[in-house]
Amino acid sequence: MIYVYAIGERDGDLVPFVRNGVERPPTPDEAMLREHDQVVATLMEEGPVLPMRFGTVVHTEDDVRELLARRGEELRGQLAHVRGRVEMGVRKQWERGPIVASSGSEFMRAKAERRAAARRQAAELHAAVEDLAVDSVVHLIPRDDTAFAGSYLVEKHDAQRFAARAGEYAAVTGPWPPYSFSG
């Protein structure tokens, strides 16, 4: 089997980066996730890459070529979008657990109130970094203990400035390969 890490662009050509001779798909545990991430991050140092979803295994090189043939234009468009840019993660946790309510309407009201609070917090961060953001994806309340979590695509040279500004509002991670802007 062939494990596919990423699709990159080198000298104008689409290039899949793979590992041959894989016996089985990887277990999604921390060590394997970090391995995938480190390989993709290293590949990114040499040129733009679109990471594959973790665990992507194909049987033959033809399967990879088929992907490029079928979605080549789309992948080139995404590569152009991420070239010279990095993904920065933002995550705002809060001290809230599951909603406790004695009726359906009370539950809905509490849920709406929470969502509004999360949206306000995400909007504050967004306003502070908007001029640095090329693109962004933010999810409100992905888990009970999290107000919002998301990703910003920024120019590589803006990564530190982004981290300093966004760090006033949320926990910041990155630079990451453009996982959230590859699909």
């Binding site: 970090r34 480190q38 295994v57």
Partner: protein, 59 residues
């Protein structure tokens, strides 16, 4: 307190890693298989790892 902060940072980073790698990236529909079986993990140096990553020749 310092340790708690470090653990928290690490947890946040792990959640971020999982969200990105299992929720993002290019998907080849139908060909994805996520194994659930336990696999013995072998630690390989990153240098060896990257050196063994190949490019597929595209005609």
């Amino acid at each position: 307190v310092k340790n708690e902060a470090a653990v928290r940072q690490r947890e946040i980073a792990l959640v971020d890693l999982v969200d990105r790698l299992l929720g993002g990236g290019v998907v080849i529909s139908g060909d994805i298989t996520l194994a659930v079986a336990d696999v013995d993990l072998v630690t390989i140096s990153l240098r060896a790892l990257v050196a063994s990553v190949e490019k597929v020749a595209v005609p």
